[in-house]
């Protein structure tokens, strides 16, 4: 099990929390969602980046199932 899998699994919940926080700020705080939405893209990008960094080197794609030992 690699960290990349973990980060990929965590991506959905983290995006959802971010969305919730932005909407809460929209309702109670200074900044409207219309101004803060790009943060969603930034968070998504950071998560993708982290996933890529955590993925094993070599050909293949991030999140590719790892082979077992022979």
């Amino acid at each position: 099990m690699s960290n990349a899998n973990l980060i990929q699994a965590v991506r959905g919940p983290v995006m959802m929390i971010t969305l919730g926080i932005l909407l809460a700020i929209d309702h109670f705080g200074q900044f409207s969602f219309g101004r803060t939405w790009p943060l969603l893209i930034i968070v998504f990008g950071i998560l993708k980046l982290a996933e890529r960094a955590a993925a094993p080197e070599g050909p293949g794609y991030p999140g590719m199932p790892e082979g077992g030992k022979v």
Binding site: M1, N5, L6, Q8, A9, V10, R11, G12, P13, V14, M15, M16, I17, T18, L19, G20, I21, L22, L23, A24, D26, H27, F28, G63
Partner: protein, 477 residues
């Protein structure tokens, strides 16, 4: 096999609890609560899911490929749409009636009218009239007698005459004297599941010295000639007060108009509404409320404080007038010190005295102090500033624009300088400090005598206040 998430069952339980609470405690403002706090459902959902996944990762269980499945995202989007709609409906005063009435039975059936027999009780001295939770229009007037007299009619919307009759009998109008209080009960809540079907139009005559506490949920209050204090709490009503001897407190949720004319005591306003008119108030005015329409002040003798989430205004008194909408503020003849803090407003204040402290995010500012000039602090992030000073005024001026020009038609001795795309203008000497800054916009300092329209010495006479209609209209739902 991977275990299913814990969040699904939790959401089911939460929805069940919510509906149960709605059925058991119908008076709880659950809708209002959810309209504001629904984003925290998303946060809680995400946090639970995150904790679960981390827990699985620590236990070295198989992880799901996606933390949140496509189906869940569909639910989330649905929640966002409903939540945003509820929030918008909850926070806008133009939304009819504020609450969505689904299953609008009100539209069917017909209205049955029942005259209310006139009721009279002798009022104790300095009586407090209490009107309990009430739906309909009420006209309350002080008179010379010492009796409380109530008359009017009741309108019940029902599918059948029998249903209306039952509802009528279940909701008698009661007038009860309790100590120094005279309580008017409409008992509209006693009727069935949909109390909104009953409305009453009441004419209430009370002794002139009485004070009043009224709680209404729908309909207008029209209150005149009372010597005591008046307190009105209303969910959805126009409130008109005239000739009140005591102080006035009004708390509204979604009123189309609040009009307060000729009050001897203090005025305190809370809540939200559309239009506000205040005129001839002898006491202090404190407003902590949002008005989406036009706010007008005239002849306020004591300090005025107005705060909402978008702006803040304070002045020592407003002998002249002030008119304010979402985008503009026009005032003339205002006694300072004046403090104004607003996000986006074009501001014009003519003929003010004492100091002024003015900050707006966006908006043009036009100022013409009265004969005596005091300290001025004027800031805008984006907008032009136009200051017309009395010809002989002496000031220490510091004007700065980061991007724009400064025109000096006041005193050629002032030192102007261009700096990059901006400019500064300095004038030293004795006299009060005048600081003008704009992030982006031009600044003009000129002589008042050379400006086109001179300041009117006296505020124009306000138009007469319209009389209330002599007969009451039924509430339209």
């Amino acid at each position: 096999m991977r275990r299913a998430s814990i969040v699904g069952p939790l959401i089911l339980i939460a929805v069940g609890v919510l509906f149960l609470a709605r059925n058991l405690f119908p008076w709880l403002p659950l809708f209002d609560f959810l309209a504001d706090y629904w984003p925290f459902i998303l946060i809680a959902w995400g946090v639970l899911r995150l904790a679960e996944i981390l827990f699985w990762a620590v236990r070295r269980r198989a992880l799901p490929v996606n933390g949140i499945s496509g189906g869940e995202w569909v639910l989330v989007i649905l929640l966002c749409v409903i939540g945003a709609g509820a929030h918008a409906a909850h926070h806008s005063s133009w939304f009819p009636n504020g609450r969505m009435r689904i299953g609008g039975l009100e539209m069917f059936g017909e209205a049955f009218d029942y005259p209310l027999a006139q009721q009279t009780v002798a009022a104790p001295k300095n009586a407090r009239i209490v009107i309990e939770s009430f739906r309909g229009n009420a006209r309350i007037a002080g008179s010379d007698g010492d009796k409380v007299v109530v008359s009017g009619r009741k309108s019940i919307r029902a599918l059948k005459q029998e249903n209306a009759n039952t509802a009528d009998q279940a909701s008698p109008l009661q007038l009860v004297v309790n100590g120094d209080r005279v309580i008017l009960r409409t008992n509209q809540d006693r009727v069935g599941d949909s109390p909104s079907r009953i409305t009453e139009d009441l004419e209430i005559t009370v002794p002139r010295g009485a004070s009043l506490e009224a709680v209404g949920r729908y309909g207008d209050f029209d209150i005149t000639d009372l010597g005591g204090n008046v307190e009105v709490v209303s969910d959805n009503a126009g409130v008109r007060l005239q000739n009140i001897g005591g102080s006035v407190r009004v708390d509204t949720r979604r009123s189309d108009i609040v009009r307060v004319v000729n009050v001897k005591g203090a005025v305190e306003l809370k809540g939200s509404g559309s239009d506000l008119e205040l005129q001839d108030v002898g006491g202090e005015v404190t407003i902590a409320a949002k008005y989406s329409g036009t706010v007008q002040f005239r002849a306020l003798a004591q300090p005025v404080r107005f705060e909402s989430d978008r702006m803040e205004f304070a002045a020592q008194s407003v002998p002249g007038q002030m008119r304010m909408s979402l985008s503009d503020l026009n005032a003339s003849n205002v006694t300072g010190p004046i403090r104004l803090n607003a996000r986006s407003k074009d501001v014009q204040i003519l003929g003010f005295t004492q100091s002024i402290d003015l900050t707006v995010d966006r908006g043009d500012i036009e100022l013409r102090p009265a004969a005596a000039v005091a300290k001025m602090d004027v800031h805008t992030r984006s907008g032009d500033i136009d200051l017309a000073l009395p010809d002989q005024a002496k000031v220490q001026l510091a004007a700065t624009t980061d991007r724009g020009e400064i025109t000096n038609d006041f005193n050629p001795a002032f030192e102007g300088r261009s700096e990059g795309r901006g400019a500064t203008l300095r004038g030293s000497g004795d006299g009060p400090r005048v600081v003008l800054t704009t992030g982006r916009g031009s600044i003009t300092v000129r002589k008042a005598s050379e400006t086109v329209a001179a300041v009117p010495a006296v505020a124009p006479k306000p138009p007469a206040v319209p009389r209330a209609p002599s007969s009451l209209k039924p509430v339209e739902q």
